[in-house]
Symmetry: none
Subunit: 224 residues, 4 copies
Amino acid sequence: MSERLSEVSDSGMTERAIRTQGDILEVATAEFAANGYAGARVDEIAARTRTTKRMIYYYFGSKEGLYLAVLERVYAQIRRVERGIHIDEMSPDEALRTLAEATYDHHTTHEEFIQLVSIENIHRAEHLRQSQTILRENVTAITLLEQVIERGVREGIFRDDVDALDVHMVISAYACFHVANRHTFAAIFDRDMLDPALQESHRRLIGDMIVATMTDRRSAGGER
Amino acid sequence: MSERLSEVSDSGMTERAIRTQGDILEVATAEFAANGYAGARVDEIAARTRTTKRMIYYYFGSKEGLYLAVLERVYAQIRRVERGIHIDEMSPDEALRTLAEATYDHHTTHEEFIQLVSIENIHRAEHLRQSQTILRENVTAITLLEQVIERGVREGIFRDDVDALDVHMVISAYACFHVANRHTFAAIFDRDMLDPALQESHRRLIGDMIVATMTDRRSAGGER
Amino acid sequence: MSERLSEVSDSGMTERAIRTQGDILEVATAEFAANGYAGARVDEIAARTRTTKRMIYYYFGSKEGLYLAVLERVYAQIRRVERGIHIDEMSPDEALRTLAEATYDHHTTHEEFIQLVSIENIHRAEHLRQSQTILRENVTAITLLEQVIERGVREGIFRDDVDALDVHMVISAYACFHVANRHTFAAIFDRDMLDPALQESHRRLIGDMIVATMTDRRSAGGER
Amino acid sequence: MSERLSEVSDSGMTERAIRTQGDILEVATAEFAANGYAGARVDEIAARTRTTKRMIYYYFGSKEGLYLAVLERVYAQIRRVERGIHIDEMSPDEALRTLAEATYDHHTTHEEFIQLVSIENIHRAEHLRQSQTILRENVTAITLLEQVIERGVREGIFRDDVDALDVHMVISAYACFHVANRHTFAAIFDRDMLDPALQESHRRLIGDMIVATMTDRRSAGGER
DNA sequence: CATGAATGAGGGTTCATTCAT
DNA sequence: GATGAATGAACCCTCATTCAT
């Protein structure tokens, strides 16, 4: 199952098979994201596809197998974005801001990814844990951050008691929240966090926060 | 439906009826939080209760009615926490840190609440929107924040381009993420964000961040 | 599951429930006997019942559960027959003949039982082994035989190198075969072993065989 | 369909085609014997074969066609055994014992044959009846028995009210039972009828029985 | 208030079989 | 001859919900 997506580029499959699978995956991604794992209907997915329900089982074995493939697909996508970021010639704080904004941009434009992550968490990540591919490839997400922070600390402009994983968490939390909690937030406060009018300032805010925090004199070191 | 909980304190119900309802709600909260709306089973809830499935329908009308009552219950709980916070004699930055930590404390100790919020978002808050009680009472959550920020801005120590809702969002995002994305984060990075060993530093970090951001000279207004 | 049938006489069930279950069991017995475990259709069983398919799952949990209940039912029936046999005042050979004929009579008039046993054997008795009730109660089937044979050996009229289980096997084999292999035998040799015209002589033959064998001078002990 | 196997020896087929068919038949025999007709899976058979599912349909037309071919194969095998028995110079009782033991030997060493016969009986021999080959060739199974019994009766040492088909039935019943009911018998009485330690005495027992019965003075003729 | 019995609609899954290449 | 892709019918099972007592 974990290998399916990579096989797509192999020649073990016909053009048509690739298209069919891709078609199913696209529809399934939307359905699972919109209704949760239990709420999604295999029948409904099949109905929105060029093919039949039977093909879903032919290619993915089960509802869970399909869900897993969907998960791998969206995680593969975010990896591609991460690989496209280049921060070699920036100052540490510039780099930090760039990384923060890249995450913000990805998450706010990939609602389905965030929804699937939420769903996965409701299920205690039990499906995610089955995918060695995802686990293996996605740890590297913080490699860039580690390098930047190390440089900032070495140059004496970053506090040294906040590690890369903490920073990643803060950035992810901020970006995720925009999408994941969009609806309850809007219902209660009547503000759509993804309103284009807010985008620029929100995009800047996460950069501000992370840079202000890492370069803050009072917080860093001292009495702690 | 939305009025049911308030009836509890009325005298239209026997002691026993109140206990039965409370019992059902407690079990239902756990079940919905653990499995999502579609994933939760009415049978399972009934089985874990002292009463029978028939009682669930007697008191709550339907699965959706029960879910709504559960939502109202957990939202009522967070309101009680908010009402208990007193920041009148603190400096704006102290107050900000206090509010941030209170949110952090609540969310990290009420996993079920966060899970239910996640679930509600997957369903585009369509249930939440049905409860006037929740909507009416929970907007007030930012009243305190508004006062603090206004004071800080007036005193010239806070930037003025970040409003109370933004600050609330940032704090909520941080606190939510710890619980909501706990499992995927742990699966990929092998770090449990709720690990007691991390609690102190994580608790401080959100205060640091919000204070550093609001008091940062470079970020506020000016050149941008 | 194993306790179901005995519960029937308890008061934990309404009259109606007992009837419903009995109805289902009767139809299911016929269906499984006629089509095998895999070949039987739950839909078909439900259709031939006063109730619906849902009730089958309500009472028996699964196709397998139903099959198991069917198995217990037919095995309970044969136990009742066995308990009704009285041979206390017969001579050993008379008793032997009586027991043989009782088995012959039961098997040839309970086609479904034999078919279910055949089916069970195709599945390596994996269901039977799950029923402690059947296993526990049906070993006693040879108690009578043991007593009779012991008496015959003691009186010196039976050979002593054939034990009760062997005799049981011989009798069962003969009686089973009439029903279990009825169709292939008829197809090839054009003789219906259950033809009423043959019944008398076939009934006597198994008695003849078992008595002749046990009392045969040449076979017993001696030169072997 | 019924003619397929005979084609094998014709030259209308390549070496390879013959091997492929044999391969399929062997696997199919095991699958049908182990799971029954409905329980056997064409996919599974194909998977255990060197060839693909398509080939099964190419050679055998359908699941039923394959099953029929399997049936013909195992019945052809037992015919070969029968043809190998020579009893011309034996006394009637010796010959009888020899035939009984031959059947016992064949059945206890051809579990799949017995299982397939059981399965066929569950389906009321409806497949068997389609194969003229099997029906035509297997009636001859009792020719030898007929001759022996006739001789015994003529010589006055055999009773004359038990015909060859009855004897065949008794012998078959005994031998079949060892294999066909092996599992339920073992489950209930904890004795494996095919235990090598029992083989010798069980092998002798059927001979004893049939000879004792046919030569028994009391049973034959007389008062009946 | 409370309980076991009952239900209809639909959900996931599987099977034998066929098509296109 | 051989292969992967595709299919429709049906199969087992489950769920929220209601009824009778």
